[in-house]
Amino acid sequence: MKPIWSAKKALIWTLLAIGAIIMMTPIIFMFSASFKYNDQLYDLALISSEPTLSNYVYLSQNTQFLTWMVNSFIVAIIVTLSVLFFDALIGYTLCKFRFKGRTVIFVAILSTLMIPTEMLVIPWYIVAKDLGILDSYLGLIFPGLMSGFGVFLMKQFFQGVPDEYLDAARIDGLNEFQIFIEVALPLVTPALSALAIFTFLGNWTAFLWPLIVTSSADLYTIPVGLSSFSGEFQSEWQMIMTGAAVASLPTIMIFLLLQRYIIRGVILGGLKG
């Protein structure tokens, strides 16, 4: 009985490990190619005989990757902070205050989840054009400043916060905004981090809207920049791979640092959302 079992387990483990290697192959090859010269690319060896940083040097000196990186960070961080603050505030208000119109507002906000972004990009583009904010940071960030998903998630989590916590603070003389910031928010940090992960990731990798709204290379985010760069550098695959590596590195790094939180956050956000 026993040996058969362990043989089966070993087989399962081996298959899973092979699968894991396959999953990582594109990422590994991407990084590997970024340290190679063009003429070494057809060599399947992962680490080339003479690894080079020249691609990275070239990208940093002759292209705007650094600018795009900064742009992506600015956009992703502003949007994430805004979503965290406003979605938490809306979710909190809809959960903890009783007033006329509460349900209507909640249902209305929830219904925005059914509208695909693709449907909104055309009106957004027209409005941005009329307001003269095409090709600007404001143009990049305005569609994402609040999200129905986050409101729903936060409302769910505030349901688990007993009202006594808020009442105790009211007796201590805090006003409602102070209670939200000092008492309510710290009680839902797991939800906040889940929402932060989803929002940051979504904005870091966002492509369609930045592609539409930006036209000058100075304002590209990293996916748009990489796409346009790669279109021009066809066949310079080692360069393209270096760009791709640069684009992927931040999220992978963050994951390696905060693995536990991120997985928990994805589960929380996925299951409650």
């Binding site: 006594e164 009442d167 105790a168 603070a169 009211r170 007796i171 201590d172 003389g173 102070q178 009680l187």
Partner: protein
Amino acid sequence: MAKVSLKNIKKSYDDTQILDDLNLDIKNKEFIVLVGPSGCGKSTLLRMIAGLEDITAGDIIIGDKIVNHLEPKDRNIAMVFQNYALYPHMSVFKNISFGLRAAKLAKAQIKEKVEAAAKILEISDLLERKPAQLSGGQRQRVSIGRAMVRNPEVFLFDEPLSNLDAKLRNSMRAEIKKLHQTLKTTIIYVTHDQIEAMTLADRIVVMKDGKIQQVGTPLQVYKKPANKFVAGFIGSPEMNFVEYADKFLGIRPEDIYLKEAAPTLKNQKSISGKISAVETLGPESLITITSGNSHITAKVPGLFKGKIGKNIDFVFSMTDSHSFDKKTEERM
């Protein structure tokens, strides 16, 4: 300095009336306990006094001020909640000092007050811990500390001990009693544990369906319940009731004796019936007999050895019995 008066207090949510024309005068430094079945409006009343709920009609007077429209922080009250409401992300010190920091007191003054409260509550060693690292009893002390540092004239407690196990509850009860004697403030205390009510209260307020049934000292409420509800609610095990002519006759289990072990009783009456249940509590036993279609429970000292189904005789004194009008259920 702080008596509390409730004058013609009413409360309704939309169409449902929760509190109905409530009047109560609480003396300065008095320990008042509100008891009543779940949903009778105890918490609502307490929250109205605290300023957390609107008053539909009537006046609440604390000290000599009508506080109907004052913010909670301006009412000179502090409140302790059943679930402690301690912020998990703050240390004990931060929790206790939360209100003081909100009021922007000087650091040194905050420290002094927190330490003084901690000393009284014997939690000085715990100030740096987080609530998660405390036992239930310690948490409740912290939340009392949090109320104490505000130097309130009135303490409001909403079932502060009901999350604790029986043993801790006993010791915390004693400490709250002691605290009251040390602090000399008015306390309004909600519970549905009648032992808490009997041992802590200067006066007990028994409520039902948003109405006050009786206000009185524990002894008065126990000895002279104002109506059948109070009689049944106070005392454990519950008072026995027998329909008798145009009234309910009530007799407490502890006033019933086994015939062979009875002392001399004035105005003695006897009941006999079949033993239907025996519960042994240790120092005493509860015996329930069935007589006709009524069940009567007696509390007798020591271990009872009678068999279920056997016939047995009880005696009691009519002087110890209570009569209530059959219609109004009021004491006669």
